[in-house]
């Protein structure tokens, strides 16, 4: 098992843990089914990383999608999807599996990582495209972003930091423009030579999301990292 296969297996585990934790917390699913699900997913991820990428990958993808379906069903129709249910590891894995099915056996391992990288690039390109389609460059207007930040302020150092930033419109606008630019640069992830630099910029973007918005998903960071690592 290589480092990147191991880290990608970990990303797949995180991808399944998120809906599993949500099902436990929001739908009261018992510890038994959750434990069995995590054990099966860990086994599938291990198989993926240990020389059975098609078998392990297909099983892991099926399990992650099953957990997501259960999570969607635990809320009124469309609630989870509308609020943003993103599965970068599952999406990249889908790219891997398609190539494993289509490419010649000797080239499939290398090309599968390329397909995964292409999918990762597309996720960021789509995020930037969605903003530009809705609002154009006006998306970076600081007022709405200041509101998003102040909603997330509160007691503690991080809450105070968010409030401090929210009250500085020039800084908020600059951060929003930078975030949009970095998302657009995510498209360069299709180019192998650019991946380390693009991954670094995108990891910085996620660090900003975590600090200012409270969204921290290790799955995104791992998916970026493993696809930027050399073979």
């Amino acid at each position: 098992m290589s480092l990147r296969e191991g880290l990608f297996a970990l990303a797949l585990l995180f991808a399944g843990l998120r809906p599993a934790v949500a099902l436990r917390r929001d739908a009261g699913l018992g510890a038994g089914p959750i434990g069995a699900f995590i054990a099966l997913l860990a086994l599938a991820a291990l198989l993926f990383a240990s020389g059975w990428p098609r078998l392990g990958g297909s099983a892991a993808l099926a399990l992650i999608l099953l957990a997501r379906r259960r999570q969607f069903a635990a809320w009124p129709a469309g609630t989870v999807e509308r609020l943003g249910a993103y599965d970068p590891a599952a999406a990249a894995l889908l790219g891997h599996l398609v190539v494993w099915m289509l490419a010649p056996a000797d080239r499939a391992p290398a090309l599968a990582w390329e397909a995964g990288s292409g999918v990762v690039a597309a996720t960021y390109g789509l995020a930037a495209l969605a903003k530009l389609r809705e609002m154009g460059l006006g998306w970076a207007d600081p007022r709405a972003h200041a509101l998003l930040l102040i909603e997330r302020s509160g007691p503690g150092v991080i809450g105070a930091l968010r409030a401090g930033v929210a009250h500085r419109p020039a800084l908020v606008g600059a951060l929003a423009r930078l975030a949009l630019l970095v998302e657009l640069c995510g498209l360069l992830f299709v180019w192998p030579e650019a991946r380390p630099a693009v991954a670094l910029a995108l990891l910085g973007l996620h660090a900003g999301f975590a600090l200012l918005y409270g969204y921290w998903h290790p799955e995104w960071a791992l998916v970026l990292l493993v696809h930027a690592l050399p073979p």
Binding site: G118, Y124, A130
Partner: protein, 132 residues
């Protein structure tokens, strides 16, 4: 060849996402893309004996109708958090009455054209309860 495979994968996945929408693992990744007219936001909040506190700071509340607090009619970028706040209340309902007066309502934030922010509490229902 590598770049070509990655570019083709990006194009196909991107096109499928635009076509299929929110069908995991496909998505348009449109979170926070639509911010037009977002000049106000609100989230369920509590006031216990005159002091504002987060919903999760309530240890118990007497039965109360939560419909006025349900997300949808008011702007809120943290719908998840609002839904969880309501579930928190539902799971901490006790027979009551309790010693403290509890007002449940919305904490509103707004931003004006100059980017100035302000905050106000709007009570929507009253009950009794106690803090954690």
């Amino acid at each position: 060849m590598e770049t070509l495979v990655a570019a083709v994968a990006a194009l196909i996945y991107g096109a499928l996402c635009l076509l299929l929408g929110e069908r995991t693992p496909f998505s348009r990744f449109g979170m926070y893309a639509r911010l037009q007219g977002y000049t106000q936001a609100a989230r369920p909040w509590a006031r216990v004996e005159g002091q504002l506190c987060a919903i999760s700071a309530l240890a118990a509340v007497a039965p109360v109708d939560l419909d006025p607090l349900r997300p949808g009619p008011y702007p809120c970028s943290q719908t998840w958090a609002a839904l969880r706040d309501l579930r928190w209340i539902e799971s901490h309902v006790g027979p009551g009455p309790f010693a403290d007066r509890v007002e449940l309502g919305l904490l509103w934030w707004s931003v004006d054209d100059q980017g100035r922010l302000c905050q106000r509490f709007e009570p929507r229902c009253a009950t009794t309860g106690r803090r954690a």
